[in-house]
């Protein structure tokens, strides 16, 4: 087998390589080990000095407790994430298609206009956003959050789709154009069928971002419409924290995105790469 890097003679280098890699794995997995072990301990057994030891009795109770406490919030997060991902993906696809294949005078400026929204710190719009959502009566409703995440997801979804569509050769469109097909017809016939990988990338990316988001969630929701991140923060931020519950809760909260990551890792990485404006 040909090693891709510079050829290293002998096994000593490989040995060092594997050692470093395994050490790094240990460092990365350490916190997860801690989380799982603590979640499985009985509250009375959680002591700072014995933090690293395996639990004596495996206490699945914390998971049960966290599950019942979090179930409604998990539902909220699911509704929020699925709706907002779908909406922002759809709009992003149309936008990306327009920018990539049908440029109009000023379309570059328009693209930059939208793109900048990807980078703004949300603290710079939080106060007026709050006032706006309240004014249209969506404060405390999950749909207020859906609206917010859809709009603020537009820049990144537009970017990803636009970069994807730019790679589609114009020749594919020309045949239909000669037949007299216009903007939407070509989208329906040629572009949309080719968009599946991009949709997967975008939806996975948005799913992760929206599921994990906290600032909007904590500002615009009430106890009924709270997503899971807010519930976790309140659980863990309380006083006299019995750490088994927050750890179990953290595990539950992380599970969906971790599942997405494990199952769709390839697309996840593509979304991540597409998110850096490489032009």
């Amino acid at each position: 087998m040909s090693a891709r890097g510079p050829v290293r003679r002998g096994w000593s280098w490989r040995w060092l390589l594997y050692l470093t890699l395994v050490l790094a794995v240990a460092l990365f997995v350490l916190p997860v080990y801690m989380m799982v072990v603590t979640a499985l301990k009985e509250p009375a057994a959680i002591d700072l000095t014995t933090a690293w030891q395996l639990p004596r009795h495996w206490n699945w109770d914390s998971f049960a407790q966290a599950w019942t406490a979090f179930l409604p919030k998990l539902k909220n997060s699911l509704v929020l994430t699925v709706s907002a991902s779908a909406a922002s993906a759809l709009l992003g696809s149309l936008n990306g298609y327009a920018f990539a294949k049908w440029p109009f005078p000023g379309s570059r400026a328009a693209f930059a206009f939208i793109l900048f929204g990807m980078f703004i710190p949300y603290q710079a719009i939080l106060i007026p956003l709050f006032g706006f959502i309240k004014a249209i009566g969506l404060y405390g409703s999950i749909w207020g959050l859906v609206l917010v995440h859809t709009v603020y997801g537009l820049p990144i979804t537009t970017l990803i789709f636009r970069n994807y569509y730019v790679e589609i050769p114009d020749a594919l469109m020309e045949a239909s154009q000669l037949e007299g097909a216009g903007f939407f017809a070509i989208y329906r016939r040629v572009v949309f069928p080719l968009s599946l990988p991009a949709f997967v990338v975008v939806i996975i990316w948005q799913f992760t971002q929206i599921w994990n988001e906290f600032l909007f969630a904590v500002t615009l929701s009430n106890p009924e419409s709270q997503p899971i991140t807010v519930a976790l923060a309140q659980l863990a931020g309380g006083e006299a924290v019995r750490w088994n519950l927050p750890m179990a809760g953290a595990l539950l909260a992380a599970l969906p995105t971790l599942l997405v990551y494990v199952l769709f890792g390839r697309f996840f990485v593509r979304g991540l790469l597409a998110g850096s404006v490489k032009g």
């Binding site: 790094a24 106060i127 890792g265 404006v277």
Partner: protein, 378 residues
């Protein structure tokens, strides 16, 4: 021609709703925030939380207070903390990410497993990461209890609860320091432009302007700046050691992202290039420093921009790790939240938000401009 016009119109109309939405939700709201930051909303308790608050225009008063008022020392420390945090966060992510990418680039066995492990923290919410690490960094447990497992004494560092601060400097020295720094930077720019590009009129003009600015700044620093103290008391700021815990957690989360970027970049380097370099006798180290790393420079830049803007607006991680009450790990984004929603100081919160925006814009806008301009030349 008419067909083209019609389809251009359609294209514009398709994009229009998004333009409007972004126009309102991004630019419109930014405008509102800036306007709010110029008012006194929040100072008068009878108006702060009223149904229809009545506020007055106070110009840049909130900003003046933030930078030179006694009670906003916490904000100034937050700015300093953010600078330190950004530097360490970037160094950590780029360093660790590059190292891991290079290691994996050697195609070890089980490469996919290693990659997945290093990248999985990126799929977690900052709140989850913060919760886990908060537990890990408890002074009497967690990381401090690792050495005993191998027989060493337990760690004594107080991590997030540390009150220690190093590299302290006085805020009153800031104006002069900034002026000197700016003056030197301008001088450097002037030298580059005037020496190397004297023929090009645009760069010559830029060089002259830079030279003038440099002289003005340095002169001010030497003559007037020295006597001016924005604050009545000396106010020390520095690097809060409590941030070390935050840096560790955030690098843990984001190093995988950098690694993925670098891996993509490394795979884009043609095999022939590497072979050619090796054939010419480049040692492993030289291969990397002379050939590969320079080719990765655009990725480094891109990663720095993305990571930089994340670190400037970091909120969730700190909130979950240290709570909103720990002044030693405070960051501007968190301060904005508690100023607004606990202190009812909406105008001041808006001012902090605006300052955050300006900081982010300073690094993002030039980058976006250069990227998009390069695209046109494609």
């Amino acid at each position: 021609m008419k067909r083209q016009r019609a389809s251009q119109l359609t294209s514009f109309l398709v994009v229009l709703p998004s333009l409007l939405l972004v126009g309102i939700f991004v630019y419109g709201f930014i405008g509102r925030t800036v306007l709010t930051s110029l008012s006194d909303w929040g100072r008068d308790p009878t108006q702060a939380l009223a149904l229809s608050p009545v506020t007055r225009f106070v110009g840049l008063d909130n900003y003046r207070e933030l930078f030179t008022g006694i009670i906003d020392g916490r904000f100034r420390q937050d700015l300093v903390s953010t600078v330190f945090f950004t530097v360490f966060f970037l160094a950590g992510c780029l360093g660790v990410g590059l190292l891991l990418a290079i290691l994996i680039d050697h195609k070890p066995r089980g490469e996919a497993v290693f990659r997945s492990v290093y990248l999985f923290p990126f799929a977690l919410s900052f709140v989850v990461t913060g919760t886990i690490w908060r537990w890990l960094l408890q002074p009497s447990g967690g990381l401090n209890q690792l050495p005993p497992l191998v027989g060493l004494p337990a760690g004594e560092f107080t991590w997030l609860t540390s009150r220690q601060q190093i590299w302290r400097f006085d805020w009153n020295a800031m104006p002069v320091a900034l002026a000197v720094f700016g003056g030197l930077a301008m001088a450097l720019l002037a030298v580059v432009d005037l020496r190397g590009h004297r023929r090009e009129p645009r760069r010559r003009r830029r060089g002259l302007v830079a030279a003038a600015a440099s002289v003005a700044l340095l002169a001010w620093a030497a003559v007037w700046g020295r006597g001016w103290a924005p604050l009545p008391f000396g106010e020390l700021h520095g690097f809060n050691l409590a941030f070390i815990g935050i840096v560790v957690a955030s690098v843990w989360q984001m190093a995988g992202y950098t690694m993925a970027l670098y891996l993509a970049g490394l795979s884009g380097i043609p095999e022939e290039l590497r072979e050619a370099a090796t054939v010419e006798g480049a040692s492993g180290w030289q291969l990397y420093s002379r050939v590969i790393l320079p080719l990765l420079a655009p990725i480094t830049l891109s990663a720095m921009i993305v990571l930089g803007h994340i670190s400037l607006k970091i909120f969730d991680l700190v909130f979950a790790m240290a709570g909103p009450d720990n002044a030693y790990t405070d960051v501007p984004a968190l301060l904005m939240y508690i100023t607004t929603f606990r202190g009812n100081q909406f105008a001041k919160g808006a001012a902090i938000g605006t300052i955050l925006l300006v900081l982010v814009a300073l690094i993002v806008v030039p980058y976006l401009r250069s990227q998009l301009r390069r695209e046109v030349d494609r």
